[in-house]
């Protein structure tokens, strides 16, 4: 499988819920359908909530990866 290159990224480590989702949503608003957005999220509530909310808005979560030091990287395809 070929590696997908993100069109844009957001580092939302240290950003609490729901502001992390709000920022993700505003960023996705600026992007075109089919674009890829990479988002860095903290473990716990952020990784539990943000991907679900993103999916509810009609986007796809292509990948959820856990990094060594307690944060996650998710890859979103804009719907």
């Amino acid at each position: 499988m070929t590696e997908i290159k993100a069109d844009d990224s957001l580092d939302l480590r240290g950003v609490h819920c729901p502001i992390n989702f709000v920022k993700t949503k505003l960023k996705l608003d600026e992007m075109a359908s089919g674009d890829f957005l990479e988002v860095l999220l903290d473990e716990g509530d952020p990784i539990a909530n943000v991907p679900r909310s993103v999916k509810e808005e009609g986007h796809q979560i292509l990948k959820v990866g856990k990094a060594e030091n307690g944060y996650y990287t998710i890859l979103i395809e804009k719907g």
């Binding site: 502001i19 989702f21 709000v22 949503k25 505003l26 608003d29 600026e30 509810e56 808005e57």
Partner: protein, 263 residues
């Protein structure tokens, strides 16, 4: 990102809503809403619209704050007694949201000034307490093609209705003209449970916000009638009346009328 951190944080609970989002919140910020009356209805209307970030809010009221107002007119606090309501209002609204512009109009609307005042606004919300003004506002908004959110309260009862000129019925499609002077209680003669003013005022604020973001179904063509004593809500479908004296096929009201005032 083009948005400031404060803006994102302040309006985050709106932006999360798929019907609002960043675009809708920007529409709210660009909107200009005129609130007629800073009393029982105007208080919750103005407070919620200010908090929502409506960019320009006009507040029209000629009265000063009276002790008997405080039971329901939540814009005004005990130390405001004796102050013009517009002064008291502007202070509270700016405190809630310093990002918005609040324009005070310390006057009574009449046939000579209302068209000029509403011309600057996108939406009018009626929180006045008497029939002559209600008809004047309906007619002026029809002539100026401005959406109008009507609300009225008495005792435990309230009603709300949204008028979009040429899209749905107007106030005169339901009520032809003001009731005869003395036949109905108004203003100071009537009792009102304070919280009922809040119920209807918040419905009016919600309607105004829906008009701004262009989402949902407004109370256009539907008169919402609330009986808070039974806590029942019912709706009556209203059709545009071809015989309406103002928006009908052969209008007889072709200019603004100052009806007789009783209080």
């Amino acid at each position: 990102m083009a948005y400031s951190e404060d803006w994102i944080e302040r309006y985050s609970r709106h932006i999360i809503l798929s019907e609002v989002g960043g675009d809708g919140q920007q529409k709210i910020g660009n909107a200009k809403v005129l609130v007629l009356g800073a009393g029982g209805l105007g208080s919750p209307v103005a407070l919620y619209l200010a908090a929502a970030g409506v960019g320009t809010l006009g507040i029209v009221d000629n009265d000063v704050v009276d002790l008997s107002n405080l039971q329901r007119q939540i814009l005004h606090h005990t130390p405001d007694i004796g102050r013009p309501k517009v002064d008291s209002a502007i202070e509270k609204l700016q405190a809630i949201n310093p990002d918005i512009t609040v324009r005070p109009y310390r006057l009574m609307v009449d046939s000579t000034n209302i068209l000029d005042i509403i011309s600057d606004y996108d939406i009018v919300v009626d929180g006045t307490d008497n029939f002559p003004t209600r008809f004047l506002v309906n007619d002026a908004c029809y002539f100026a093609k401005k959406p109008l959110v009507h609300g009225a309260i008495l005792r435990f009862d309230g009603q709300a209705f949204t008028i979009v000129p040429d899209e749905g019925p107007c106030y005169r499609c339901i009520f032809r003209e003001p009731p005869p002077v003395g036949s109905v209680p108004n203003c100071s003669q009537a009792g009102i449970l304070g919280a009922v003013a809040g119920m209807i005022g918040t419905i009016q604020a919600t309607e105004a916000l829906k008009l701004i973001i262009g989402k949902g179904q407004t109370l256009t063509g539907r008169l919402l009638i609330v009986d808070a004593l039974d806590m029942s809500f019912r709706q009556t479908k209203i059709r545009k009346d071809p015989d309406c004296p103002i928006c009908g096929d052969n209008p007889t009201v072709t200019e603004l009328v100052d009806y007789e005032w009783v209080c």
